[in-house]
Symmetry: C3
Subunit: 231 residues, 3 copies
């Protein structure tokens, strides 16, 4: 459980957790109507997005979850969730900021996951896999907890591909002897840029696309209960 090669700086790790918490709470606050989550539900989603990736990473690596060894991570995630909730109305209008933050969070979790896996001695392929799972794991847990179709299965190619590409670049650079901090910065950049370009290229916001396609998924998932009224 030692990490001789590289340890993620605490400030960077807490930044990722905080950004994830804000993003998760914003996402959860966005659900209106009867399904609207209560205060606790939104906080749970904030914690899941902020800390889920790190937990999944450490479970896959077989080490005790780093985010539970100090008070800082949970306090950061909870505080970030509250910030996300309170500012939800403001942030909902700042969609470009949300997209960029989301892309950055994926990049950070992916890079931290891959780096930690490499530091623990895992070979390239599983290290990239652990990184990709760290990056998208929080959103998978969120979707399962909220009863939504798991996004990466239906709309998520560019989401998961962006995560995987950044982790792969990081891992390959590491194999070629590039210093891990430099490799991590390049990997984070690759993921973030691919993700943002994917959103821009589609000329629609990812939340909207997500909801639109999810709607389609739900419609096709449900077996028609009542036949269309015959004319």
């Amino acid at each position: 459980m030692t990490e001789p090669l590289f340890s993620i700086p605490l400030w960077a790790d807490l930044t990722a957790v905080g950004l994830g918490g804000v993003q998760g709470a914003l996402f959860a606050s966005g659900f209106r109507g009867q399904r609207r989550l209560d205060l606790l539900g939104v906080t749970i989603i904030g914690i899941i997005i902020g800390m889920g990736g790190g937990l999944i990473r450490d479970l896959l690596l077989g080490v005790a979850p780093a985010t539970l060894q100090t008070n800082g991570y949970l306090l950061t995630a909870i505080a970030a969730s509250l910030v996300g909730m309170l500012l939800a109305n403001v942030f909902q209008r700042l969609n470009r900021v949300i997209v960029i933050l989301d892309a950055l969070v994926i990049g950070l979790f992916g890079a931290f996951g891959t780096s930690k896996a490499l530091a623990l001695g895992l070979p390239l392929v599983p290290a990239v896999f652990v990184g990709a799972c760290s990056a998208v794991g929080g959103s998978v847990l969120r979707d399962i907890m909220m009863g939504l179709p798991v996004a990466i299965m239906h709309v998520g190619s560019l989401y998961a591909v962006a995560a995987g590409a950044g982790c792969l670049v990081l891992g390959v650079l590491h194999v070629f002897g590039v210093e891990i901090v430099v490799a991590a910065i390049v990997g984070i950049t690759v993921t973030t840029v691919i993700r943002i370009l994917a959103v821009v290229f589609d000329v629609s916001l990812p939340e909207q696309r997500m909801l639109h396609r999810r709607k389609v998924a739900v419609e096709t998932a449900a077996i028609p209960i009542v036949p269309p009224p015959a004319d």
Copy 2:
């Protein structure tokens, strides 16, 4: 994996597993109609409620699951599931007993989770988090396996809040030097009382409220497939 400060007495641990197994099987047996679970399905839910909390606790703590180190836990959970199934008709009429048992089980799992986390050296905040996850984790797994909306996201504020409050009281008392056994008893009492008062205050049984609100959740979750027939 040593627990110098405190180890949960085996009789207490097995009692929690047994009560959880009965509760899980009663819950699962309550589903009638075409969706009714078969014998194995009810047993699986009994095992999940009886052992899920402990498994999640040990995964979060990064130690080998204690409930899999001896035959006793699984045999207790399976036997309790069978008892729950056979007595389902009787117990369905004893709703007050079920509510009290359920509240007690949440309290027990929360206290054991927090205590074990503190004994392993975790700080206060993650210890309370691990305890709360132990308390509600079984019900989350149950809902995911049964395809139900995850209860703590939609109806569960008082459920999860009761669990969290008891764990927090236990942790704070421990920080102030109160002996862990005393702190655990206070914590279990806090959780159990809050949970029962919440049910009494709402003047309806938790299962009924749960199903009612879940029904609403399912209705709003589903995209209307057929428009209401125009008149």
Copy 3:
């Protein structure tokens, strides 16, 4: 984390992962219409079926996941998924082959899970439990990720029972001093034969039965949104 008694031969382990990857990709490719998964989604399901059982086994055992210690497992699972996708049309017509492969995969994962648990010193009951979870865990993860009702809860008695029976036979033979390799072969045979006989006895293919019953499960799960048009 040493396995003095028995270590699963790498070729056998990779064979199970490969067969699982093909089976998972075939299953996922079978979904047509708007819900159809994309290339990445099918690959994810292939990886889940090929590697999910082993991951769950090692999480329950509290050891670092063996499938992430070398490049071989993931590369095998990914390659198998691609093979499954490309040959989906061919294999869809070879339903008997699919059924036999599926039954064999359940048997292999169950036997490996039980054997590893026994080798790590777990008693009989938890060792059988870990084996059964290894056998069916991949399909549970698949159903959760794809938003399907979890098969073993609704249609899965004979599926999970076949897995459990094989693991139990393996464990009991081991207790009676039978060499682990022999016990594993007998256990795999028991699971495979029960599973195949169950399919033959029902005189329908498991995929079809599964989808049929799932359809029923979905229908009853959904609250009728629109009342049947009155005549």
